[in-house]
Amino acid sequence: MAESHAIHHHPALKHHFDNMEQQLEAGTIGMWVFLLTEIMFFGGLFLAYVIYRAVYPEGFAVASNTLDVRLGGFNTVVLILSSLTMAMAVYSAQTGNKKRLLLFLFLTLILGCVFLGVKVFEYRSKFEHHLFPAVGWYDWSHEPTHNPALASQARVFLWLYFAMTGLHALHMVVGAGMLVFLMFFAWRDKYSPEYHAPVELGGLYWHFVDIVWIFLFPLLYLLGFHLGKH
């Protein structure tokens, strides 16, 4: 103990940790455990998807074909790019380059907002075409080229689409808030090569949300791609 008093403590070291390594390790394990809970959280919906897709393959294909692959594909590219800028932000924090850290956090935020903007546009078009699966709004008969017998199967796909992408979008909104938080403290010179755990952990979260989308895109958008544009 006498020894540790002599060592200069980093101001970001919380009182209950012995040193910065222990604090970082705790934060990192904590974030991974949190992401594990997120996998289980999305897992319930993925399970429902697998079961209903096995039961209603036809309805799933035609309903998937109502989604716009170009918009979904564009959003996929946007998110992959945002993962790159997030990784660059973490690197900038490690190397202590404040300007580039702020720049890359900002770019990540912009890309996240672009994604959400496209999502709003897609949701609105679903509402306009009466494809939101709630009672009173849903009306499959507006889809003239599709078999009316599949209306109820398609509805199952559409609620899964809204639930899964909606939950994902919610995580994007939380991620955007987190980026604003990180930018604020980066601007206040809180982060340094010795202490930048929040940026690193934020990066883990952001990449996780991206990976969820990487699964959602083929499952939802590419399923009915072979049927061609209606």
Partner: protein, 544 residues
């Protein structure tokens, strides 16, 4: 127990270092947060208990004379929801676990003190929603929330109750996350995994279940809320959905949730039995890994709740076999505890009486669980009072006995005072007798075919006698639960001051003062011995 005189000089500890409501509501000290949890869980417990009292009152007579059928449905639903989600799931981890885990591993606090406080606020927010739903008119779906009743037909406050459970679930997740990180990263020098007290192992296993299971119930309740508000057809067969999917998702969490309740209890019992017999636990590694095995296998048995719900016979066979397998690690624990008692220097203070109670009741609860895991027999027993009796033997006879035993055992550490031993023994006796009188007749009623969740039953004299016994037992049980609350509060002012290690027991938590200072240890301890090394304790005591 020794009541060693403590210097009259008031010493600064975690309780008296600061006063006023702010010092409690904004505290980051794991010990104070444990006290916050203890108080709120106790309040929830007496509310849930009042509902149970009303249920037992109605069943005193065969006719439905005290409450309407609809009211009765609300009573047992609110009893179940409050007791499961607001009492039993947080009970031992959030109070004893929160207080003791950092102390047992020689740390100053949990890894994330602010998340720890947040989890208490989430618990309070969840409880507020559930209690709002109860006060605004109640909800009547049963604690299982099965659709289509919960999604279409029930016109009670299902959404508010669901939101409450959703929020309280995140409180449970954050507690588990905090424990896992703390146990991994903050152990004192020399405290290897195999030197950890078994209480810590049990909580580690519990935390695994909490972080993997709870998110699933969260997304399930989310889906149920969407179904109920927007009617999108997730669980409605008329619209292409499947109500059995809800049952699968619900039990994927809610069966492991039973292990969230009982594993920490097993951890408490390991500490009590080792320290009250003054013997190292027989087969330490088996007891440690049986906790992990229960956590793992516990995730693979949910289908035994669906034997009569259109699940395929082959799936049922697999779930039945897996349910038998999960009984093995539980049996390993019971055998090892019993073997530890053999030739131990036992003392019969209150915590040990609760531990004995736990052993007997848990064995009965576990064995009757095997009845229900047998597919053929379950057809006869499904949804009868046999099931009710079985899970109360595990949850109340197991978890609550361990919780009370643990509270008595660590009370000198928590409060710095000794509880009155005579009253403690009386409460342990009342709880044991009252519990058996309440729930053993329910095994017989269930076996004779009395279904659960009805406010009236046929006027058969045998059925009524058994129901009267059960209600009488519930009254005794109620007294047994009120007593400790009274004398614990009494002891905080009038109890004798406790020495730092009054039992005396092993474990780092007893190496510091009672009540502990805010940072737990004045000097970070260095561990050089195995857990439950009584020889080392005697050496220290002889030296001082």
């Amino acid at each position: 127990m020794e009541a060693t005189a403590v210097a009259a000089e008031p010493r600064i500890n975690y309780l008296n270092n600061d006063y006023g409501w702010k010092s409690w509501l904004f505290t980051l000290d794991h010990k104070r947060i444990a006290i916050l949890y203890l108080v709120s869980i106790t309040v929830a417990f007496f509310i849930g208990g009042a509902y149970a009292g009303a249920v037992r009152l109605e069943l005193l007579t065969p006719a439905g004379d005290f409450f309407h059928a609809d009211t009765y449905n609300k009573l047992f639903t609110m009893h179940g929801v409050i007791m499961v989600f607001l009492v039993l799931i947080p009970s031992i981890p959030a109070t004893l676990g929160n207080f003791l885990i950092p102390m047992m591993i020689g740390a100053k606090d949990l890894a994330f003190p602010r998340i720890n406080l947040l989890s208490w606020y989430l618990y309070i927010a969840g409880a507020a929603f559930v209690l709002y739903a109860a006060v605004a008119g109640g909800f009547d779906t049963g604690w299982t929330f099965y659709p289509p009743y919960s999604s279409i037909y029930s016109n009670t406050h299902v959404i508010a109750a669901g939101i409450g459970i959703f929020i309280a679930g995140f409180s449970s997740i954050l507690t588990g996350l905090n424990f896992i990180v703390t146990i991994h990263t903050m152990r004192a020098p020399g405290l290897t995994w195999y030197r950890l007290p078994l209480f810590v192992w049990a909580h580690y296993a519990t935390s695994i279940v909490q972080i993997l299971g709870t998110p699933v119930i969260a997304v399930t309740i989310l889906a149920l809320a969407l179904e109920r508000t927007l009617h999108i057809g997730i669980f409605d067969p008329k619209m292409g959905g499947d109500p059995v999917l809800f049952q699968h998702l619900f039990w994927f969490y809610s069966h492991p949730a039973v292990y969230i309740m009982v594993l920490p209890g097993m951890g408490v019992i390991s500490e009590l039995i080792a320290n009250m017999t003054r013997k190292k636990i027989y087969g330490y590694k088996f007891v440690a890994f049986s906790s992990i095995a229960i956590a793992v296998f516990g995730f693979l048995v949910w289908g035994h709740h669906l034997f009569t719900s259109s699940q395929s016979v082959y799936a049922g066979m697999v779930f039945s076999v897996l349910s038998y397998i999960v009984a093995l690690p539980s049996a390993v624990k019971v055998f090892n505890w019993t073997t530890t008692l053999y030739k131990g220097s036992m003392s019969y203070e209150t915590p040990m009486l609760y531990a004995f109670g736990f052993l007997g009741l848990f064995v009965i609860g576990g064995m009757t669980g095997l009845f229900l895991a047998a597919m053929g027999l379950d057809i006869h027993l499904q949804d009868t009072y046999f099931v009710v009796a079985h899970f109360h033997y595990i949850m109340v006879g197991g978890t609550l006995m361990a919780y009370l035993g643990g509270l008595h055992y660590w009370w000198p550490k928590i409060s710095g005072r000794l509880y009155p031993e005579g009253w403690g023994k009386l409460s342990a006796l009342l709880v044991f007798v009252g519990f058996n009188l309440t729930f053993f007749p329910q095994f017989l009623l269930g076996y004779m075919g009395m279904p659960r969740r009805y406010h009236a039953y046929p006027a058969d004299p045998v059925w009524q006698v058994l129901n009267v016994m059960s209600t009488a037992g519930a009254s005794v049980l109620g007294v047994g639960y009120v007593l400790p609350m009274i004398y614990f509060v009494w002891s905080m002012r009038y109890g004798k001051k406790a020495a730092s290690n009054p039992w005396p027991a092993t474990g780092l938590e007893w190496m510091t003062l009672s009540p502990p200072p805010t940072t737990n240890f004045e000097v970070t301890p260095v561990v050089t011995t195995e857990a439950y090394d009584f020889a080392a304790i005697e050496e220290i005591r002889a030296a001082t």
